[in-house]
Subunit: 244 residues, 2 copies
DNA sequence: CGTTTTCTTGAGCTGCCTCAACGGCCGTGG
DNA sequence: CCACGGCCGTTGAGGCAGCTCAAGAAAACG
């Protein structure tokens, strides 16, 4: 492993939490300047090349990771050896929360493009969140939000049909892009059809067909991994309408 | 609402955390006597009759609940008005973690039998977990465990066939019963076939048919809600075998 | 430039859903 | 005590959404 570790020091200070443009999305939400600097002091940076793992299932857990740049997937290998994608994560989101329960990571986290994460050693984070009330609070909210997110996915998997799932997936991606200041109507998928299918409980052919269908109906533009949302309301209508 | 609130005082001390037989399953894991008593002081008890809600989606969040006696389900009403069950909870398990993210409960929690919970006001719990290191740690583990649990369900919903899901469901219930000192081979389902189906992403008829099939194959005994596991290994084999 | 991966599309199959009918259990009230 | 109605569970028959298998085209990559 030749991954680069960059401690945060005076000469790369502009990459520290206190200067980070993702401050408001990340664990640092609402911290005072003083506290931000304390957080800075425990964060290191690490670059992950596309296709490389940030951690693997079974690895000892010792840090959480905030995505600074890039895009990740998390997945689990089932006993039968097939991969199930459990999530896609983008800048500002936290990876590794599943590891706390057993001091061991239960899933693999893999970069889907060249990425960079902020490494937050968990024992230090615990100490610091012990010191800083609003950090503790924010940390709890992050975990809770993860639980809520997983439950939405359970609803999707448990009660939606294929095209609804895919519409929901596109809308969700679009919203998260917007939140980060990117275009919400035009973006590049970092994952394959197969990974989308795995995430949504569908086969890759079904994903491909749904994209083609949406394309034919003028809802989206599709060119391989490049997606344009042409009729967001139309997509949203698919969710309410089909299932009543 | 005529639900009974019982503060814990000297005269019902044997129901306090320090005396609770679920201590090792609950948030109180690993606390020293001193700390246990601190936890006692913030816990109140509340009884919930069968069919009654502990909380509803949209209710303001202000406490977590540890189940002392009984059995609950959590569910969400989708926009189209259909109920999706997100979990079944039994003694020692914690309800309400989803509420932390937005200070609002996102799901309904309903008693499936006459039950009793320990009410832990969240702001007080935060203060106390600030004081007691091992409580903070245990709390984080509980949240993380919830995330891991949700992810297993995602795998179940995303990649298993109907009979595998139901086998997994029965095995899971059986293990949790065992952990609580009940028989792992014979128990009473507190939920309907429809609720099981909703939880597993199946229709109630499919659940019923799978039970009948398992029954015919000698894997389980079924008499309405009374279940006997006759061949646990056979059930487990269904999981590995079918999907390879 | 060749190799590999990814995507698309078609045709046929099947597991689960839908719709429907019936039987058992339980609480309520006569 | 029995009669009744409402809920819950079981079972059957038929249909369809999404899976499987297959082949070919288009990108991506070294």
């Amino acid at each position: 492993m030749d991954q680069q570790i960059i401690p945060i020091t005076a000469n790369n200070m502009r990459t520290a939490c206190s200067q980070c443009n993702l401050r408001e999305l990340c664990l640092a939400v609402g911290l005072e300047d003083d506290d931000l600097h304390k957080l800075d002091s425990l964060v290191a940076r690490r670059k992950i090349k596309r296709g490389q793992p940030l951690y693997r299932a079974g690895d000892p857990f010792n840090a959480l990771y905030a995505i600074k740049i890039g895009f990740f997937k998390t997945d689990i290998l089932t006993e039968e050896g097939l991969e199930q994608v459990t999530g896609f994560q983008m800048a500002g989101e936290i990876l590794g929360l599943d590891g706390i329960s057993n001091d061991t990571h239960v899933c693999n986290a893999t970069a889907l493009e060249d990425s960079e994460v902020c490494v937050m050693p968990y024992d230090q984070l615990e100490v610091l969140s012990h010191e800083i009330r609003s950090l503790q609070r924010e940390f709890h909210k992050f975990m809770s939000r993860e639980i809520v997110r997983d439950q939405s996915l359970m609803i999707l998997l448990g009660s939606m049909r294929a095209e609804e799932r895919i519409a929901a997936f596109l809308i969700n991606l679009s919203q998260r892009m917007k939140l980060r200041g990117y275009s919400s109507s035009e973006f590049h998928l970092r994952m394959t059809r197969e990974e989308i299918g795995s995430y949504l409980g569908l086969k890759l052919e079904t994903v491909s067909r749904a994209f083609s269908r949406f394309h034919d109906e003028g809802l989206i533009g599709v060119q391989q991994k490049h997606i344009r949302i042409l009729d967001g309301d139309g997509l949203r209508k698919l969710l309410d309408h089909n299932n009543c």
